[in-house]
Symmetry: C2
Subunit: 190 residues, 2 copies
DNA sequence: ACCTGAACACCGTTCAAGT
DNA sequence: ACCTGAACACCGTTCAAGT
């Protein structure tokens, strides 16, 4: 009953895991394509150790990303308390996009990975829950229609961080967001 | 004034280029992640030759894909002649999605690549033109609003081929398509 | 002018050997 | 129980040498 997070871990293992995540975070920010071997080297551990903790690149990416996702999803209630549902949703979506745009490789990992689909699901869980809250709040006020699938919304939102970099890209992202909201407002005709 | 496509090419160079594309097409269909070296080997040429013709993986992917894109974009007018604009658009979008879902790696190349952004533009050109035709035809009948940016629509359409495989994925893709069309119908409120 | 293919630095991944 | 780090097969890419 000594440490913090997971009960199973022992001694230096926990320290290593923490260091890997720490190094990976900064290293991935600098270059989304850093090799795992380089991360291991910078973390001053053997490659085998990295693989013991994270069996695949995606596993590592998702774990690194999870903290950021957690921070973002934790802010939902407060955002809903401080602004109208749709405005809060706009704000939140832009932040999600900004985050995913940077970690870039992550956006791919989340949708692409066939094998990591389960891991992905675990990671999408909180995001789905967050989107659900916005949708419910907006629907309760009659701002949007009922019965929108939050996963559908997330799928559409992924377009926001595939936009080209720069000013024009951000403008396009805003247009896309408004189009998505329009789709939330109006039920499909067919 | 002997051969067909590009005037610059000479002798075996053209044959090699054709063979690379041929092999790449089938090989990529079998495994989207085949290495360039393997493609070169299967095509019975040295890796250097492949690099001479296609300086990057993306360049090769885009060229391979271009034929399929061309076939699809060429069908637009006929489709518009045979069905109502929005139905034609639905049909066409599903085909585009099906194609991109298979070549998978391509969808990424089209959006992700920082360096190949220009190549990408050249490849998106026909697609953008195709979407423009559908939008114009639908707007002319009052089925959708005016002034929709076709590139925006393409961005949203990319969600269609990031859907999970299988029956459920196809259903979601259809839902997404209808949501996108709803966004074409109704102008954003804000 | 184009092609070949050996070679380079590096990748992900494994696994015996250590502690 | 966990870590190390050499080793393997392979990757993308280059470039001297050939024709």
């Amino acid at each position: 009953m000594a440490s913090e997070t997971n009960p199973g871990g022992r001694a230096d293992a926990q320290r290593n895991r923490a260091r890997i995540l720490d190094v990976a975070r900064t290293e991935l920010a600098a270059d989304p394509d850093v090799s795992l071997n380089v991360i291991a080297k910078r973390a001053a551990i053997g490659p085998g150790t990295l693989y013991r903790h994270f069996p695949s690149r995606e596993a590592l990416l998702l774990t690194v990303y999870q903290d950021d996702v957690a921070t973002l999803t934790a802010s939902v209630d407060q955002m809903l308390a401080e602004a109208e549902p749709l405005d809060a949703f706009r704000d939140w979506s832009r932040r999600l996009a900004a985050q995913s745009r940077i970690k870039h490789g992550l956006g791919e990992a989340l949708t692409t990975s066939a094998a990591a689909q389960e891991l992905t699901r675990a990671n999408w869980g909180p995001v789905t829950a967050a989107v659900s809250k916005f949708l419910a709040a907006a629907a309760a006020r009659g701002d949007i229609r009922d019965g929108v699938d939050p996963v559908d919304v997330i799928m559409l939102l992924t377009a926001l961080w595939r936009v080209p970099k720069g000013e024009a890209g951000l403008e396009q992202a805003d247009r896309l967001l408004e189009m998505i909201i329009a789709a939330l407002r109006h039920a499909p005709a067919r």
